[in-house]
Symmetry: C2
């Protein structure tokens, strides 16, 4: 019935460990989120994120018992790769994936909070820009930032975006936002916990592309 409600993230256990299989299952539905943006332009981003997920899964399946949690993967790769780490393997893939997840989180939160451009109430450019600035901009050089600004023009109308999140069903905007808020509960905790793990393991990098 709704892209978000059908694919809620699981609640984390009390120790906030991130089960790899659960995470991969939850996150596998998210690339479809970029189809809700409507334009072919965003398929590029969808494949970048799909690539991250594929890379993490490829490591996981080599030894599911060894890689039970996401932290197990980072720690094992730190051992295995020496000075190359963290710019390597599933550690790098998850480093970028979490930024895409954060982008989605802030965009949805901003919509749920009712941020809008009063002069253009049916545009989501303010919400997309807020998400971009907080999640991604600092990791992009000036040319990719320019490309973002061009791509922003392809962002859909708020009404069409909310409809797409509801898989094309005509739902009231307020009902859709209730779903968004519900989705954000476990999702936000998961994304925050991945960020904390990168800080704790000193695995974050800030090079630009």
């Amino acid at each position: 019935m709704s892209l978000l409600m059908d694919n809620q993230f699981n609640e984390l256990p009390p120790d906030k460990s991130l089960d790899t299989k659960t995470f991969l299952d939850n996150v596998s539905h998210l690339p479809a989120f970029f189809d809700c943006l409507g334009s072919k332009v965003f398929s590029v981003i969808k494949s970048d994120i799909n690539g991250n997920i594929t890379k993490i899964r490829a490591v996981y399946v080599t030894d599911p018992a060894k890689y039970t949690t996401l932290q197990d993967i980072l720690v094992a790769e730190r051992e295995a790769h020496g000075a190359e780490w963290p710019k390597v393997g599933a550690t790098l893939a998850l480093m970028w994936l979490k930024r895409g997840l954060r982008f989605i989180q802030i965009l949805l939160q901003s919509l749920a909070d009712g941020d809008r451009d009063e002069n253009n109430p049916n545009l989501i450019r303010v919400n997309v820009t807020k998400a971009y600035e907080q999640a991604l901009k600092r990791y992009h050089g000036w040319i990719v930032q320019k490309i973002f600004h061009a791509a922003l023009l392809a962002a859909p109308y708020r009404s069409n975006f909310l409809k797409a999140l509801s898989k094309g069903e005509e739902v009231k905007e307020e009902d859709c936002l209730i779903n968004v808020r519900q989705f954000l509960v476990n999702y936000t905790v998961t994304v925050d916990t991945i960020y904390e793990m990168y800080t704790n393991l000193n695995a974050e990098l800030d090079y630009t592309v």
Copy 2:
């Protein structure tokens, strides 16, 4: 010794039939061309083109005897897909791939012909723009055109580009251009022949992305 000289296209036979296996072998080296452009931005284009090649190969390997020539593939898909054709399968993949090949052809030809911006002789923007306008622009909506203009700023200097085509060896510009001209001989005939086939089979589309 040189990306182009090591990977010349084969000469076409007198009947100008396009052998599928030969074509796939020849073209498989071309995505590396986009690495010569230097910036991470172009990896997006590289994967689009890689995707086209993968799709054509996937059809070919299901029945190499049936799909001996590229024309065999188009004709078989026309039979199989009815009204959906030509916006389907390897026919669609080759339709887009040929545009990327034409882009490369015109860019290299323009360099070989000595087209340059006299005020910025070490930039290749005039050459890239010429190739874009002739090969791709009409298939791109205004947003992708804007993205192209932003991406153009990431184009490398002429000297670095020619050096990359020579796999990093310091060769004289004139020697590199001799290689480019040599490469263009069979390459141009191949690309022209694919375009003729699309015209003859009425397989060309002009929708924009």
